[in-house]
């Protein structure tokens, strides 16, 4: 592995982040991930457990949206991109921290071909 590859791969991820608003074009929910409104329409009622479950936790950026950035496709797109950046930042930090904690601390002997 070399640093150049890592840089290229991160650039690839940055491009993907910029393209994420394409994911907003598909408007439906995934099968088995319906909201209570959709269930009300489908079944004529909302299962009690699902109703309670929906109110169990209020996330900061529900559905990868940022409050105040929901009025147009452009705004949702920007919100979606910001969510991607925030999510990746958090995931990066958590993984690095956990990795520092659990990964094997070997002495770098320089015997790798990188």
């Amino acid at each position: 592995m070399n640093g150049k590859t890592m840089k290229k791969l991160w650039i690839g991820i940055a491009i993907l982040i910029a393209l994420t608003p394409l994911g907003l074009l598909a408007s439906g929910m995934a099968w088995g991930e319906w909201s209570s409104e959709e269930l009300q329409e489908m079944l004529g009622y909302v299962p009690d457990g699902i109703n309670k479950g929906e109110n169990l936790w209020q996330s900061l950026f529900p559905g990868y949206s940022i409050s105040g950035l929901e009025d147009s496709f452009l705004q949702s797109g920007i919100g979606y991109i910001l969510s991607a950046v925030i999510g990746i930042g958090l995931i990066y930090l958590v993984t690095i921290a956990l990795g520092k904690f659990i990964a094997k601390r070997e002495e770098e002997k320089g015997n790798e071909n990188s």
């Binding site: 099968w31 991930e33 209020q58 990868y64 991607a84 990746i88 990795g99 990964a103």
Partner: protein
């Protein structure tokens, strides 16, 4: 395959926490042994990649949507235990910050997307690519087939978990408390959309990255084989 809170009853999500806690501990021990500190940024990148590709919702006939996961790809580069940890971190962040998938269902989702998907995908890949040279086409073919089978197996398992709910928690006065469709509906629904579409998306993503790594930096595909051969040679000098 993100499962919102309230879709699974407490028996199911509770049982899966009991399954996943020891599995996470085993994974941490495996990584302590096999994951080098210099590969930690790669693990973080794998998790980041999985997170971002999950944001590309793709419509499928019938108004539903789905997406790739990338779990098999992480497993091919860093091993299935590393993939389990990476995907679990993604699912935890998605549940807490983005409301994608339930908090109670984190263990169930990690079981499906972090355990079943990368392990099945990885071992199918290994089966196809064993003794193949790093530059061999068997590498990316194995990656494609493995990731396709991995995500489809995961979809079936998710369908089973959902479909168990009306059995475990039958309707009272015509109303279900949790997920309402039986296995005979949930498994085909999950399986078909992954067999015809999302499985191919996952396969194309996985094999494209593997091909790219074969051409640009094959050492990334040797991390796994190296770990195995070092182990055989009697451990690393530490």
């Amino acid at each position: 395959m993100h499962i919102p809170d309230g879709y699974l009853g407490p028996i199911t999500w509770g049982a899966l926490w009991l399954v996943m806690i020891p599995v996470w501990i085993i994974a941490a021990r495996k990584l302590k042994k096999d994951l080098k500190t210099k590969n930690v940024p790669l693990l973080a990148m794998g998790a980041a990649f999985s997170f971002v590709i999950m944001m590309f919702n793709i419509p499928v006939l019938g108004g539903s949507t789905g997406h790739a996961v990338g779990g098999t790809l992480i497993a091919i580069v860093l091993g299935p235990w590393a993939a389990l940890i990476a995907i679990s971190i993604v699912l935890i962040i998605q549940a807490f910050f983005f409301g994608d998938g339930g908090i109670t269902a984190i263990a169930a989702e990690s079981f499906v997307l972090g355990l079943i998907l990368p392990f099945v995908g990885y071992y199918v890949y290994r089966l196809i690519s064993t003794n193949a040279d790093i530059s061999s086409s068997r590498q990316w073919i194995g990656a494609g087939i493995g990731s396709y089978i991995g995500i489809n197996t995961a979809a079936v398992v998710a369908g089973i978990l959902l479909g168990l709910q009306p059995i475990l928690h039958p309707a009272v006065e015509g109303k279900f408390q949790y997920f309402m469709y039986p296995i005979s509906i949930s498994v085909p629904a999950m399986a078909i959309e992954h067999l015809v579409l999302f499985g191919f998306v996952e396969a194309i993503v996985t094999l494209s990255v593997v091909r790219y790594l074969q051409q640009t930096d094959p050492s990334l595909l040797r991390i796994q084989t190296k770990a195995v051969s070092i182990e055989k040679a009697g451990g690393v000098s530490a």
